[in-house]
Amino acid sequence: MPMTMTQKILAAHAGKDHVQPGELISAQLDMVLGNDITSPVAINEFEKHGFSEVFDQHKISLVMDHFTPNKDIKAATLAKQCREFAAKMGIVNYFDVGDMGIEHALLPEKGLVAPGELIIGADSHTCTYGALGAFSTGVGSTDMAAGMAQGVAWFKVPSAIKFNLTGSLAGWASGKDVILHIIGMIGVDGALYRSMEFSGPGLASLSMDDRLCMANMAIEAGAKNGIFAVDEVTYQYVNGRVNRDYTVYEADPDAAYEKVYDIDLSAIEPTVAFPHLPENTKTVSEISSPVPIDQVVIGSCTNGRLSDLVTAAKVLQGHKVHQNVRAIIIPATQQIYLDALRMGLIETFIESGCVVSTPTCGPCLGGHMGILAKGERAVATTNRNFVGRMGHPESEVYLASPAVAAASALAGCIAAPDGQYCGKGGNAQ
């Protein structure tokens, strides 16, 4: 029976030749991830049920990224609990202030996830690693506890939706615009319980950063996972990072898909998701009246990678952030921060009036480092624009690419770098 990429990875990790949609399986895990918010709940469960050691000290990653550097005493207490647990259990991949980064940028960068592997994380954006051709999915803290104890998780085998990519991105369009376009098309539950599989002749033109961004937001369409076919771009990324054997899985040519969408990348325009759902999308050119803003955030597990910062700097170079806007730039890892520094990007940001922060999830989830007041609006390169996501329940978040976010910071309202802004044509600068 033919299988999708996801079904093949699940079958292999369940010790089966075949699996079919709807089947419940128990699968072996290659990596179990948690952060400073979700791990304490998992550690409490782990200890409450009398487990005394983890299944594999090398296959657990604990990343202190959400409320770090600790924003208050309670957050510091949670991080301390993780730190002590990691030391007691001998967990090798524990990342704290100084060498941490935002988890979903950090794990691929460190070579801790590889094609064909099966990863669970107590963070919904764990689906990011599908960019490398892995099966990875977000779970809760109890699943994380079980994974740490026994190295297994239960799954219902998903059916899949295929996205056949053609053409290549033009102008300022990026992976973020592609995934926002797709979520706008299928809705926030358009892929509920299913896999989103990305392949086709257009794939080769997408950079790894574009793919990581797209897989990251599969959860915003309700998907169990997003996964990309493995190609030269994948090998170039993992070579030198992953120093262990891995298996590449390909979907069978006659695999069954619930739906197949053809996406012409060359037709994708800069796209923005309006409050309060990621499916409320418009292209910037469709915005009919000006949307003045108070804050811009460029960063997160979605868009805090080096190419995102390069794009933002290109737009900001030689210009000043609008007087009504606070612009916050957050490199996603220490390595990305260092690379940006050496490339002169940090200087560009500061000279244009932005602030640059240490890696943190911070403002994306309304944690710290950029909370919105009542009635304020932000353009953010993050992944969610729910009610109250970045602060006051009456604040608003507009999701966009780094290029649109940077252009909006200069214009003081939602704008594209090619001159479309404030609901009319013209020069954003």
Binding site: L24, K74, G138, V139, T142, L277, R384, V387, G388
Partner: protein
């Protein structure tokens, strides 16, 4: 097993950020989480919810973050069952793993209104609307998931499986 209570009714796409806003995630204390449950869309909920009350909502309930704090906050607030047209998948598995009863039933979600008195029989999946004298039927869980619920959550289930050689799978 049964549940009975007054209904709190919400719409589609109730996300984990409104179930428990991230500003309160610096605590893992169940009662503290419950005290902020739903506050960004319904400030009256946490103060007025009573043990046994039932939450009814539309499509994609619990979408967004993987935070287990969300089903924990609902359970700790006293809610005995959540009935929705559909659940976001991480919320669905988190609820099962921590023992919060959830049911998918479109008919119930169409007919039940805020404040109705509703009784749920988990063994049969029958939902009785005592206010309107109506009955609806939800899909029962598959046996594997019933096993997790019967043993009180995922970790006791796994322990039982390893000691019984998987007899209860």
């Amino acid at each position: 097993m049964n549940a009975q209570g007054k209904v709190w009714k919400y719409g589609d796409n109730v996300d984990t950020d409104v179930i428990i806003p991230a500003r309160h995630l610096n605590s893992a204390d169940h009662q503290e989480l419950a005290s902020h449950c739903m506050e960004d869309i319904d400030a009256s909920f946490a103060q007025n919810v009573r043990p046994g009350d039932i939450m009814v909502a539309g499509y994609n309930f619990g979408c967004g973050s993987s935070r287990e704090h969300a089903p924990i906050a609902i359970k700790a607030s006293g809610v005995s069952c959540v009935i929705a047209r559909s659940f976001a998948r991480i919320f669905y598995r988190n609820s099962i793993n921590i023992g919060l009863a959830i049911l998918e039933c479109a008919e119930a979600c169409d007919h039940i209104e805020a404040g109705d008195e509703v009784r749920v029989d988990f063994d049969t999946g029958v939902i009785e609307n005592l206010t309107k004298s109506e009955r609806y039927t939800a899909q029962p869980f598959p046996p594997f998931i019933q096993g997790i619920i019967r043993l009180g959550g995922l970790l006791p289930f796994l322990k039982d499986q390893s000691s019984e050689g998987g007899a209860n799978a």
